[in-house]
Amino acid sequence: MKFDRDFSEILSSELVANTGGIISGTLLAIFTDKLYLIPGLFILLPGFLQLKGAIAGTLAARLGTELHIGRIKPGKKSRLIAENKAASFILIFFISLILGVMSYLLTFFIFDENYPAIMLIPVVASIISSIVLFPITTKLAIWLYKNHHDPDNVMGPYVTSLGDIESILSLLIAMLVMT
């Protein structure tokens, strides 16, 4: 019985996350001609995709805990929410910059391509996507809790899917702006 329940819970959340991933991949396929012009894109892409999931995922997990222990009350303004969001913004900015510099150096030294813009593409893309992703993550966690759902069980796959789609869109916008 437990096996069946585990099976259906993990499978359903996995299928949601997979569908989000396939939508992101479809966006990549639509803009292949633009992506092809970016040297080092595949060095940048895995880390960038993982980063959004990791930071928004931990934001969701922290908010879930704060809601459960009653330090955040739905419908009331809280300094904890603002501080959590601010920390996520700062983290994503710094890690994107590090990822950009790493991508540039690896592309330059291993693939002999000099493309400095790749250092700024993830930073611009992160700023664009964070403006949408973090407020949605916060609002969704509070809404779920208010409506008697456990954010811990539901948020993971939704945040990952949303983060994937949103990351690719913001990355494409950043590329269009910067190239």
Binding site: F3, D6, F7, I10, L11, E14, L15, A17, N18, T19, G20, G21, I22, S24, G25, T26, L28, A29, I30, T32, L35, Y36, G40, L41, F42, I43, L44, L45, P46, G47, L49, Q50, L51, G53, A54, I55, T58, R62, L80, E83, N84, A86, A87, S88, I90, L91, F94, I95, I98, L99, S103, L106, T107, I110, F111, G156, P157, T160, D164, I168
Partner: protein, 185 residues
């Protein structure tokens, strides 16, 4: 120390490490870039596969640490019935997910005008399932050996096991995925 500083301090190190590992794995992908762009289903599949392997790392590592804390794993018998059950469960779901993402990406590629032969679809399916089977097994081995080590050292495996398994799984998935693309296409 305020909350903002505390969160940044605790997360920065592991996030930098994960980014470095991902960028290193990206080198393998970059070297088969042309093949990925030419084989449209592979480009469509990539974000889903990348996320999927990380998710399985999280699921297995969390389940393993729960078994450890519930004292359901003895020191002598590392690979017991409960753990075997979790491994088989993860493997079963990974196979269904591989079939799902391979088929969905192939249909989308077809709709986008990509000429997809049955043999090519089979190759996509083989690449995806081989990558996931190998990695779910690798995740299980890492979780069991590293989890036991952290537990023995009285450190909480919950805090360390997930970042370690997901980072290694990410790196492994990119290397194996690129290698299979190189061999099959």
């Amino acid at each position: 120390m305020n909350l903002e500083t505390k969160i940044i301090k605790e997360s920065l190190g592991i996030l930098i490490l994960a980014s470095i590992i991902s960028a290193l794995g990206g080198i393998a992908l970059q070297s088969v870039e042309e093949k990925i762009f030419l084989a449209l289903p592979l480009l469509i599949i990539f974000p889903a596969l990348n996320g999927m392997v990380g998710n399985f790392g999280t699921v297995f590592a969390s389940k393993y640490t729960t078994l450890l804390y519930e004292n359901k794993i003895s020191k002598k018998n590392l690979w017991n019935k409960a753990l075997k059950k979790d491994y088989l469960l993860t493997l079963k779901i990974s196979l269904i997910s591989s079939f799902y993402i391979s088929t969905l990406s192939s249909i989308i590629a077809l709709l986008k005008g990509f000429e997809l032969s049955p043999l090519f679809y089979l190759k996509i399916l083989i690449i995806t399932t081989t990558t996931t089977i190998f990695l779910v097994s690798l995740i299980a081995i890492i979780s069991v050996s590293a989890g036991k080590y952290f537990y023995k050292k009285k450190e909480d495996p919950d805090n360390l096991l997930i970042p370690i398994t997901t980072s290694i799984a990410d790196l492994g998935s990119m290397i194996i995925f690129s290698l299979l693309i190189f061999l099959f296409l």
